[in-house]
Symmetry: C2
Subunit: 185 residues, 2 copies
DNA sequence: CTAAGTTTTAGTAACAGGTACTAAATTGAA
DNA sequence: TTCAATTTAGTACCTGTTACTAAAACTTAG
């Protein structure tokens, strides 16, 4: 069973290598492991690892939406209702990519990002900035749950807007936060 | 020169389309613009737009490191010091991708993510969860500034950890937050 | 040692989504 | 009508694969 061990070992390292660097071609892998290209392909097949182009595409797609939802787009979650200067509602469908691998619990900053972003969306101004936020996470959110965020402007003082945001998962509150947004010209 | 106008117009829209959705094949583009595949290819050539696979690869490569710091990795920012159960320091170099396009001000949730993540890093346990956070943004952070986050465990009560996090940009405090982290097994 | 099984290697056809090139057809305007 | 710009057609070739067949090499039990 010495050979079989070698195979298993190689496949373990292959998994590692590709998760470190998904941009490696089969040919490059043959050089790393000093086996034929067929062996690499058999290994990938057995491990269910897709081909280079698929892997690259996955990386691209994953963070294309991530960038768009965490960095690129102006709003995190889908805006379903908006009364500028008054209130707004957004929905965010969570998935495993937003969660800790081990526990499947959604990372706090995703929830925060949705809250912050709906708070800013309701402000009737070009750009706003989070000034102060007093927030509270009430229950952990699991991947797959649908976050419904409601934002309400409660007070306006000069260029300062006070906005309350509540996020629920099926009627149950999971987050509340008070934002003070400052309009900048 | 009506035809030339049509060509230019098509090329403009092509650029737009592809920046919106870089995952479109030439074939899909022929259907959108109702021209032959050769025309699409000539257009791409004239505009210097690379082929699908190159575009996908670019998206993947550009954001690969970003994903690892915003979604994939367990910690946002670079850990420069860590005393498990006591304190930790992380550094986050901000860039334009983390900022609002118009103002160049870093989005709040990036700062929050760094704070949350260093707070969790100092906990000497496998998994922790943000329970409550009382946070305050003091000054806006501009793209390019280096965020230095210091976390300190101030109290431990059962499975609850009270952690204070302060983030500075060159000696000036830009954020402070108190986290209550709950260890889960 | 030998037969049987496992693992590895070789080789082929086909595929997607192209590039690069040549050449012909279409269109618009002078 | 004629000339140039534009569009279309068609071919050979490329990369990194899948899917498949088949043979070689190694392992191990009997």
């Amino acid at each position: 069973m010495a050979k079989r061990f070698k195979k298993k070992e190689r496949q373990e390292k292959l998994k590692e290598k590709l998760s470190e660097d998904p941009f490696l071609t089969d040919e490059e892998l043959t050089e790393i492991f000093d086996v034929s290209i067929q062996t690499i392909r058999l290994d990938r097949l057995e491990l269910g690892i897709p081909e280079l182009r698929e892997r690259v595409k996955n990386v691209a797609e994953n963070n294309y939406s991530k960038v768009r939802s965490l960095g690129g787009k102006e709003i995190v979650g889908e805006l379903v209702d908006l009364q500028l200067g008054k209130s707004g509602i957004s929905i965010l469908e969570t998935d495993k990519n937003m969660a800790f691998e081990k526990t499947n619990v959604i990372r706090g900053h995703h929830i925060f990002a949705q809250a912050e972003s709906i708070a800013m969306a309701v402000i009737d101004a070009d750009v706003a900035l989070t000034g102060v936020a007093n927030i509270k996470y009430k229950t952990p959110v699991k991947a797959g749950e649908k976050l419904i965020a409601k934002a309400e402007v409660v007070r306006i003082r000069g260029n300062k807007y006070f906005v309350h945001v509540f996020i629920n998962v099926s009627q149950k509150q999971v987050f509340r936060g008070k934002f003070i947004l400052v309009v900048i010209e």
